[in-house]
């Protein structure tokens, strides 16, 4: 046997040290001081970092300061999909959080499997005025007869335009209003040096909007059958395909597609991008650094304006003792109060959840100073809920692949690809 390899040893040691350094970072600053009458400790899991994560941590910290009975521990869990699967697994393992977020199209899957609590009795007991919640945002809260979640960080997709590029190209910087104008804008912004008018990954949330704008819907009203392969749904794919063939729209693919679209827009390789209103503060600060101006606009109309709403509702995970459920409810109640929704909206660009918040002085003065915030609120007039079918997550995957293959692979027409997807999705929805 040879003597141990010295370099191997050095490399192993340094790798171990790196790992050790990494681990310390994860330690959160949990409250350790003991209070006189043992407070109840509950767990809250949320999705997304950056400004959205900071907002969650800040609100939780504030909640822990303003009262002494409950301590909330907030934990980041990745994106919505990660959060959902972590929550699911933790429920099966019996160490679930008390409060978590459901992306609104997953409300049905969680409620119907009995993973989340019906909040109706809590709401009635505390006389919460549901009429103060913006009506367009409540659609995904009702599952059957019960209310399973309250709107928290909610959004609509909006159009972000690079005002500076628009002005250089001699376009009206308030943005295109119709699909035709949108196409013209994209054409005008496309140049020979690789710049495109628009960048957009295949995304079912945006697709729901296009179908709605064309006067159709993705699923029928009972959510038992796919209707996206009817004329409006096909028109939406054909519209993007036409622009893609012409080279005025870039369709990034892969796991990082959303990130690539963001880069295209912030590097000014694309003049327009659809994104959640939640990205507003991020876009504004990136644009300021990069030295261009950003404007926001409604998603353009075809036959009509239309968008789905998006984002997440606060839900209570079932199966916890009564005392902890009460604490969880107190936290949910506090988080959805007008003051907190104003804070969250200002921090991130998410919509304010309450009519009283929209009309508040704080929001009005913000809308005056930064009118970009107002667009998503105004667009709510044309917004509707997302499908609630428990198998919609899987249906979205199939639909996403069908649209991608029609756009990228070119071996199927949009009609063929959507028909095939509809057939498979129909068997899932029943």
């Amino acid at each position: 046997m040879r003597k141990p390899n010295f370099y191997l040893l050095v490399i192993s040691m340094s790798a171990l040290m790196l790992t050790a350094c990494g681990e310390n970072e994860g330690e959160s600053t949990e409250a350790t001081e003991s209070l006189s009458n043992d407070p109840i400790e509950i767990e809250y899991w949320y999705a997304f970092g950056d400004k959205i994560g900071e907002n969650n941590e800040a609100l939780v910290e504030q909640f822990n300061e303003v009262q002494d009975d409950i301590i909330v521990h907030a934990h980041y869990q990745g994106n919505y999909e990660d959060l959902h699967s972590q929550t699911q697994a933790s429920i099966a393992a019996g160490n679930a959080p008390h409060v978590t977020l459901n992306e609104i199209a997953s409300m049905g899957a969680f409620a119907e499997a009995g993973m989340t609590e019906d909040l109706t009795s809590y709401i009635e007991e505390d006389n919460i005025d549901l009429n103060d919640f913006v009506e367009g945002l409540m659609g995904n809260s009702y599952i059957g007869e019960g209310i399973y979640g309250l709107p928290y960080l909610r959004s609509t997709p909006i159009l972000y335009v690079n005002k500076t590029m628009m002005e250089e190209a001699g376009l009206d910087s308030s943005g295109p209003e119709t699909w035709e104008e949108f196409e013209e804008y994209a054409r005008a912004l496309t140049n020979d040096e690789g710049g495109v008018g628009m960048t957009m990954p295949v995304n079912i949330w945006f697709y729901e909007a296009f179908v709605k704008q064309s006067g159709g819907s993705v699923l029928n009203d009972d959510e038992t059958e796919a209707t996206f392969n009817e004329a409006p749904g096909v028109a939406a794919v054909e519209f993007i395909q036409r622009m893609h063939d012409e080279g005025t729209i870039k369709v990034p693919t892969g796991d990082e597609a959303g990130q690539i679209a963001l880069q295209d827009f912030t590097n000014q390789n694309a003049g327009m991008v659809f994104s959640s209103t939640a990205d507003l503060t991020n876009y504004l600060s990136i644009a300021e650094e990069a030295g261009f101006e950003v404007n926001t606009a409604f998603m353009p109309q075809n036959e009509q304006y239309g968008t789905p709403t998006g984002g997440a509702n606060l839900v209570m995970v079932s199966g916890h003792p009564e005392e902890e459920k009460m604490a969880a409810w107190e936290f949910i109640k506090w988080m959805t109060e007008p003051e907190q929704t104003i804070t969250a909206s200002t921090n991130t660009g998410y919509l304010p959840m309450r009519e009283s918040a929209i009309e508040s002085e704080e929001m009005e003065s913000l809308y005056e100073q930064v009118p970009q915030y107002k667009v998503a609120v105004d667009q709510l007039e044309y917004a509707g809920p997302r499908p609630l079918n428990a198998n919609y997550a899987q249906a979205q995957n199939i639909l996403n692949d069908a649209i991608t293959s029609a756009l990228i692979e070119d071996n199927q027409t949009p009609q063929e690809a959507l028909d095939e997807a509809a057939e498979r999705i129909n068997s899932l929805l029943k």
Binding site: R2, N5, F6, Y7, L8, L9, V10, I11, S12, A15, T19, E81, H84, S85, Q88, A89, I91, A92, A109, A113, G114, M115, P252, T253, G254, D255, E256, A257, I260, Q263, N391, A393, Q394, D401, T404, S405, I408, E409
Partner: protein, 291 residues
């Protein structure tokens, strides 16, 4: 009495190990087989018995079939290429000098880095717009690649990462194998004026065949179970081009909450791996030379 103890003693000795084995291997496998005949969402108290329906559904599920195909391609490519490169490297750097010692350490380093970090690193390298790899290709006037973003190249990109990660470990094990070959065999071959290639074929290869056998087996098993890089780098996309069996199981179990269906796919994976292992032992072990 004494006789009884003598009979029982070995079983008592292995009882702790056996218990762990039963609890964490045999029981879950049994439970998975049981679940594969049911429809269950993880939470609901009732598991509906559905017979062979999950298996029948798998049989005409295009994504499942593609996952199997992807797994086979991924395994074949990564195992064959890794083994060949590792063998060549081992023959080349198996020299007792400081420089070669450093090279051995350097190529081993990917093995001890966490797969998650490796995945992140390669995502940067393979970024279609700002990645180092495309920059290099451009520098040499070669056409750029979409890497992970295109259904045509994503699986091969993952194969590259898998090879990079495992080649060092394989090389080191092979070097250990090479060093256990007694030098008098080569001296004798030299006296007989055997060419280098003949010595390799008649001495080196047979004598490291147990090591190669071991490496191929563990590489096949770990390739079949590839998951982390896919979860982080592609999530099975684009267009399912990188979805493998294990990722398929994860997706249906933990994202779509169809545990019975995911279990059925798990049983298929178990059967495929068992058949492969048995076949492998039957066919290849005869050719392996043990000293």
């Amino acid at each position: 009495m004494n006789h009884l103890w003598m009979t029982l003693r070995p079983y008592t000795m292995i009882a702790p190990a056996l218990l762990v084995f039963l609890l964490f291997f045999i029981y879950p496998i049994g439970y998975m087989v049981y679940l594969s005949f049911h429809d269950w969402n993880f939470i609901s108290p009732d598991k509906n018995f559905v017979g062979m329906n999950n298996y029948r559904a798998l049989y005409d599920h295009p994504e499942f079939l593609q996952s199997v195909e992807n797994t086979v391609i991924f395994t074949l490519l990564s195992v064959v290429i890794t083994t060949v490169i590792a063998l060549l490297l081992a023959l080349w750097i198996n020299k007792p000098t400081k420089l070669y010692g450093f090279v051995q350490g350097a190529i081993f380093s990917p093995h001890i880095i966490s797969l998650v970090s490796i995945a992140m690193l390669w995502m940067w390298l393979m970024d279609p717009q700002y990645g180092l790899l495309n920059w290099l290709l451009e520098l040499f006037g070669l056409p750029q690649s979409e890497w992970l973003a295109s259904p045509d190249t994503a699986l091969y990109s993952l194969v590259i990462v898998a090879i990079w990660k495992s080649v060092g470990f394989n090389t080191l094990i092979l070097i250990a194998g090479l060093q256990s070959i007694p030098s008098y065999l080569y001296e004798a071959a030299e006296l007989d004026q055997s060419s280098t290639f003949t010595s390799f074929l008649k001495i080196t290869l047979p004598l490291i065949s147990p090591t190669l056998f071991f490496l191929v087996i563990i590489n096949v098993i770990s390739s079949f179970q590839v998951f982390e890089t896919i979860d982080i780098m592609t999530q099975g996309g684009p267009l399912n081009s990188t979805s493998t069996l294990v990722y398929f199981i994860y997706e249906y179990g933990f994202r779509f909450f169809q545990l019975g269906y995911a279990s059925a796919a798990g049983v298929v994976l178990l059967i495929v791996l068992s058949i492969f292992t048995v076949l492998y032992f039957l066919l290849v072990s005869r050719r392996v030379h043990y000293q």
